[in-house]
């Protein structure tokens, strides 16, 4: 059923948005693989195409203005982009669960928690009301909500942000999906709750054996949780590597900039590094490398030509004219 152990194989995915301002290439030729049981992190600044990539996987892009121009999303051997809508609907929620950024708005304020949790299992697993209710209680207990049997009949506004995110996780995992997509699951929560939610996702991943795609702009979050990492910029994959490798030996100036931007509590001087400039307007990208205007080591070729996707070793790739040089430099510093 699966192709060479890969649960998900995304190839050359392109999602464009038609706007008054021109065609916005939100996702432009993204490819990655996710193996069963692995966690893939996708990091990048706001507007780099992280969320659009993941919405495209389940064809949740609003059309119009969005459209998936080309690419393949092969999930368990089937190309989701070519399946009829009814088939995709059977995958959504059942085989792939999603958690969203803002737990405050991702639950329907007019529906009791129980009904929202029951809906998904009644739909996909054909549960009766009784079964669905019991299952919903069990799921709430699993995500660590106390007195689940009492609380399940409450409305979302009676829950705190962290509890709502727990409910979202319970909902996403109700049908035991093979893949869980978490789109910045901890961004809207305060730091202590953040840690709990991430820890919960990690534990549940181990317990249920599902694969996870974790989207975030917080490098600290991905460091402890992911096996593979993708760095996105302007709708493109800039660097792709196993997490430890990427942190130790980044092969792309952008990744290096990102890593340097992480606050270091031991730094006495207290000045925080930041990458100069703003993320580009993806509707009007320059001819060369999209990162060139902000790049420390940009040369003429960067502004002229689009960079190649250089393979640095077996599973480390970087989109840069000087990938090998940057990689060599990082190897030296990490060795030193």
């Amino acid at each position: 059923m699966s192709t060479n152990g890969n649960l998900l194989d995304v190839r050359e995915l392109r999602t464009y948005f038609d706007t008054v301002d021109g065609v916005v290439k939100a996702v432009d030729g993204v490819s990655f693989q996710l193996r069963r049981g692995e966690t893939l992190g996708i990091v990048g600044e706001s507007g780099s195409g992280k969320s659009v990539t993941n919405l495209s996987l389940l064809r949740l892009i609003p059309e119009p203005p969005g459209r998936i121009v080309s690419g393949e999303v092969i999930f368990q051997g089937r190309d989701i982009l070519k399946l009829p809508e009814a088939e995709v609907r059977k995958i959504r929620g059942k085989r792939v669960g999603m958690i969203f950024q803002d737990p405050m708005t991702s639950l329907n304020p007019f529906m009791r928690i129980s009904r929202q949790l029951m809906e998904i299992t009644q739909l996909h697993l054909g549960h009766s009301k009784r079964q669905a209710y019991d299952h919903a209680v069990k799921m709430l207990e699993m995500v660590g909500i106390p007195d689940a049997r009492v609380r399940i009949d409450r409305y979302p506004h009676e829950f705190s942000g962290g509890m709502r995110q727990r409910v979202m996780i319970a909902m996403a995992l109700s049908c035991q999906p093979e893949l869980l997509i978490a789109d910045e699951p901890s961004t809207a929560l305060d730091v202590t709750i953040q840690a709990q939610i991430l820890e919960l996702i990690k534990t549940l991943k181990e317990v249920t054996g599902t694969s996870v795609i974790l989207i975030t702009h917080d490098l600290g979050v991905v460091a402890g949780m992911t096996d593979q990492l993708i760095v996105m910029y302007a709708g493109k994959v800039f660097e792709q590597a196993p997490t430890t490798e990427l942190f130790a030996r980044p092969g792309n100036p952008y990744t290096r900039g990102l890593l340097r931007s992480v606050p270091d509590p031991l730094d006495q001087k207290g000045t925080l590094y930041q990458i100069p400039g703003q993320p580009p307007d993806v509707a009007h990208l320059p001819a060369g490398c999209p990162f060139a205007p902000r790049c420390e080591r940009a040369e003429d070729i960067c502004r002229r030509e689009f960079p190649p996707f250089v393979q640095l070793n077996a599973n480390h790739h970087s989109l840069c004219h000087f990938a090998n040089e940057v990689y060599a430099e990082s190897s030296q510093t990490s060795a030193a």
Binding site: F100, P109, H157, T208
Partner: protein, 336 residues
């Protein structure tokens, strides 16, 4: 091998320190102590604080109850049906309020009698049945058509939305009274009952336009909320998303507009009946009673004043109630 199942009767215990954080516990304890107020209860409290709205609510309730039960109560007291015409050939058949046939004070006819000597109070109450029924049923018709139409149009968006809304615009451009008059005279029914049903349909079909626009506007802003995306991501079908997830969220404005539609439909009905297009004898509504009354306004003014005042009081109360509901259900609107 299938992933480990949380389903088969066993509860998965996660490390207790993960189950619920301190902050979560605190907020959940508060949830126990402070009984959460539902939106409905909250709105109800705000409504009761509004004196005019309470006045409106009381008057509308009294008039509704009297209209439904009044004719039967009077029948028990006087032993006469509302259409009882006294057989004694008195010279003046219409008596002023609180006047006996001999000119002395009497409780017999608190509103006087009509041209043929029928008790005007009984007739007015019976007319109220028809008037209120026309108002409520036509509003319900407009509610069903308007809400579905507006919700579908708003949710589907794009070309479908443009087309559906242009249809509404075209219908808006037709003077609706003329449309109703044409409908009523084209399908003129032989029976009085048929005429009333025709009136329901005619008024309902023209009064849904504004409702459709209101609901569409609400849906446009709701459909981009994350809970709709979350519902789509769990594989819920489009009709279910529209009617189970989105429509309940539009209820506030819909209820308000519906309460304000009732008096406006009743007024239209009265106007049509007054012109002779609406309710036909032997059935009576406030409009047709007023139409009869106006023929002898010089001699028997109470024949116009009594049903007219009753109607005016009812409409005014309904408007107060509607305004109060708007303030109660949409507190933000009030501050503007």
């Amino acid at each position: 091998m299938p992933p480990l199942s949380p389903r088969d009767g066993d509860i998965i215990h996660i490390a207790p320190e993960l189950a619920v954080g301190e902050a979560d516990v605190r907020s959940s304890e508060q949830g126990e102590r402070v009984k959460g107020t539902s939106l409905g209860r909250d709105a109800w409290r705000r409504l009761l604080r509004n004196k005019l709205a309470v006045f409106g609510l009381i008057v509308v309730s009294i008039i509704t109850i009297l209209s439904i039960l009044g004719p039967y109560i009077l029948q028990v007291i006087t032993g006469q049906t509302p259409d009882y015409i006294p057989s004694d050939a008195a010279l003046i058949k219409s008596f002023p309020p609180f006047t006996a046939p001999d000119g002395s004070f009497s409780w017999r006819h608190p509103m006087g009698t009509d041209r043929q000597g029928r008790d005007l109070l009984a007739l007015t109450l019976q007319g109220g049945q028809i008037s209120l029924m026309v108002g409520i049923i036509a509003t319900l018709v407009s509610l069903v058509i308007g809400v579905s139409y507006g919700a579908i149009s708003g949710y589907l968006g794009g070309r479908v939305d443009s087309l559906m809304m242009r249809i509404v615009d075209v219908l808006y451009a037709i003077p609706y009274l003329i449309l109703v008059i044409v409908l009523l005279s084209m399908f003129k029914s032989q029976t009085a009952r048929g005429q009333v049903i025709l009136l329901f349909v005619a008024l309902g079909t023209v009064s849904w336009l504004t409702m459709a626009r209101i609901v569409r506007g609400q849906v446009l802003s709701l459909k981009n909320q994350e809970f709709v995306l979350a519902a789509r991501a769990t594989g819920v079908t489009t009709p279910r998303i529209i009617f189970r997830h989105i429509v309940p969220n539009t209820l506030g404005p819909v209820i308000v507009y519906a309460t304000l539609t009732i008096p406006s439909v009743m007024l239209t009905e009265a106007f049509l009946s007054f012109l002779g297009f609406g309710v036909q004898p032997p059935m009576a509504s406030w409009g047709s009673l007023a139409a009869e009354g106006i023929q002898n306004i010089g001699i028997f003014p109470w024949q116009l004043i009594c049903p007219g005042l009753t109607m005016a009081t009812t409409l005014l109360s309904l408007n107060f109630l509607g305004d109060g509901l708007r303030d109660a259900l949409d507190p933000q609107m009030r501050q503007v």
